[in-house]
């Protein structure tokens, strides 16, 4: 949006206030995105902080082609994936998420969601394979089109749509199972 271009323009010319406004505008959305991707509040903060740090360091060379929100979203997605790759323990945790989520106070969603219903859903999302979770999170929290997700992940639009659909189906079955218990 034009407002972002103005903020960026001001920031490039040394306005710290402009950067604060950019941060205030997008930080919560990016934290939500990272927290849902990583299923960890502290890691999400680290990722978002890293994204903003590399953004401010490279801002002078930065030329905004699309939207700033889209750019920052892609940075968070890429860095979250790197974070998981580099941190093998993350994978182990992902496997055991269901058990972990019941006790782990770092779970991002537990901290902010009082509703039991949403907590169940949060645990179910955490159980999804990363590829499916990623598409769901990008679509619903990143507000990205399937076309954009497909381009970002270098997959076909159909694959992106399938991952989304399978992910939601799986969530439904996880939640049904939980209800049966």
């Amino acid at each position: 949006m034009l407002e972002d271009k103005l903020l960026l323009w001001r920031f490039k010319r040394g306005s710290r206030e402009a950067f604060r406004l950019i941060y205030q505008k997008y930080a919560d959305g990016l934290l939500t995105l990272a927290a849902n991707l990583l299923n960890d509040k502290v890691d999400a903060e680290d990722v978002v902080q890293d994204v903003f740090i590399s953004f401010v360091k490279s801002v002078q060379k930065f030329h905004l082609r699309g939207s700033l929100k889209g750019y920052l979203t892609i940075c968070v997605v890429n860095r979250s994936r790197d974070y998981i790759r580099k941190n093998r323990r993350r994978q182990a945790l992902t496997v055991n998420q269901a058990q972990r989520a019941t006790t782990d106070v770092k779970n991002p969603v537990q901290l902010v969601i009082c509703s039991e219903q949403l907590q169940k859903l949060s645990r179910a999302v955490a159980e999804l394979p990363y590829e499916q979770r990623e598409v769901i999170v990008l679509r619903l929290h990143g507000e990205m089109r399937f076309k954009t997700i497909a381009k970002l992940k270098n997959i076909s639009i159909k694959t992106a749509q399938s991952r989304y659909r399978y992910g939601l189906d799986k969530l439904r079955s996880i939640l049904k199972g939980e209800v049966k218990k």
């Binding site: 034009l2 902080q49 929290h141």
Partner: protein, 397 residues
């Protein structure tokens, strides 16, 4: 759990709202990283210069002399240099409000002049010749024209408003062009020197970039812009008497219509036009222009259409009814939706327009062709508005 189809809505509720402390911590860390980065940049350059001077085979006294000369040269450069263009145009980007006069002149249509006001984020108000008042609020997606003499309001409801709808807000359009033309500290900007403009001493700049072809004049003391001329292919738009950040009452931009006004509504689709919209524009044009197509493919060609309709009304010798005028306005709005399709085509599309002398219905003669991105064949539109895929060697000569 709710029915399965609500899952996506529920997932959207899985939001993470960080505490104030978290934000303070993250923002603080980012700011510290920025400080470090800036220190490193300046720190990395300064010792090198110093070391170079101190390592040279001259005495420290000579080194000091060199530093003094270097500083003097720097000062001279600052004193003799012209004010940076970026500084001069900055108010266009940072102003919260502005008032100005706009003059549009060009070949083939009468000049237009109006007084305008701008207020952030995307509001504009201007007066029309004859007393009409136009208020545009792009956030609300509305464009209201009030005609006090007739106690009538025309509401243009915009759908599919894009993120940067500059066309409907002249001030916003200038902002966008300046931003798109960045950087503006290169050889594309020429300093024009000083002259008297409207009784003020003004300094001028000429910018020639694809995104912005303009002359900007600013008060030579305050460096505030007082006039900008934008050159289009067949018209010049001048914004003068510019005053930035004046106190403006929000009610001036209100979209509320006085109770005693009658209201007519038009609709404008601002979505990105597709090929079928482009063809529909040709159809509307030809049907209202006695079977002719536009003389050329350019934004200003709409004036050709309007002029022709005005002449037809004159020829009839009957005063058009309000309904007739509204119908014509809606036709113009619909007709102009598809033509910007051409502006979105990339240079690689190799588009050609050849419809100037073709009659509507001529199935043999092509009026327009282009190559869609990634395609090896061309899309060719004929005078009967049929479309065919044609290989390059079979294109019209």
């Amino acid at each position: 759990m709710r029915p399965a189809e609500d899952i996506d809505k529920l997932i959207k509720k899985l939001r993470y709202k960080a505490s104030v402390e978290t934000h303070d911590r993250v923002l603080g860390n980012v700011m510290r990283a920025l400080d470090e980065s800036e220190k490193q940049k300046t720190g990395a350059a300064a010792p090198d210069i110093w070391r170079t001077i101190m390592k040279s085979p001259i005495t420290k006294l000579a080194a000091a002399a060199i530093i003094i000369i270097a500083v003097s040269i720097g000062l001279n450069q600052i004193i003799s240099s012209t004010p940076a263009f970026a500084e001069v145009i900055q108010p266009f980007l940072t102003a919260r409000t502005a008032t100005f006069k706009v003059t549009i002149e060009g070949k083939g249509f009468p000049g237009q002049e109006y007084d305008g006001m701008f207020m952030e984020p995307c509001r504009m108000r201007h007066t029309q010749p004859g007393g009409g008042i136009v208020i545009v609020d792009l956030e609300q997606g509305k464009f209201v024209t009030l005609i006090p003499q007739l106690k009538q309001a025309v509401v243009l409801e915009m759908i599919n408003v894009p993120e940067e709808p500059g066309d409907l807000n002249f001030f916003q359009e200038i902002r966008m062009r300046i931003l798109k033309a960045q950087p503006l500290d290169d050889e594309s900007v020429e300093f024009l020197g000083e002259k008297k403009l409207d009784g003020q001493s003004a300094i001028g700049y000429r910018v020639q970039k694809p995104e912005l072809d303009a002359t900007v004049w600013a008060n030579s003391e305050s460096k505030m812009p007082i006039q900008i001329e934008i050159f289009e292919e067949s018209m010049t738009v001048t914004m003068s008497n510019i005053v930035f950040d004046v106190e403006l009452d929000e009610t001036l931009f209100s979209l509320d219509i006085p109770k005693d006004y009658s209201v007519k509504t038009l609709r404008k689709d601002l979505s990105e036009p597709k090929e079928e919209d482009f063809i529909e524009s040709f159809r509307i044009w030809a049907e209202h222009m006695d079977g002719k197509f536009p003389s050329k493919m350019h934004r200003s060609t709409v004036n050709e259409f309007i002029k022709y309709q005005q002449e037809k009304i004159k020829e009839r010798g009957i005063e058009p009814s309000v309904e007739d005028i509204m119908q014509m306005q809606q036709t113009i709005v619909d007709m102009t939706h598809g033509f910007p399709f051409v502006e979105a085509l990339t240079p690689g599309s190799d588009w050609h327009y050849a419809g100037a002398d073709v009659r509507f219905g001529d199935a043999e003669t092509a009026i327009f062709w282009y190559r869609p991105e990634g395609s090896i064949t061309y899309r060719v539109i004929y005078g009967d508005l049929s479309v065919k895929d044609v290989s390059e060697e079979n294109l019209p000569k």
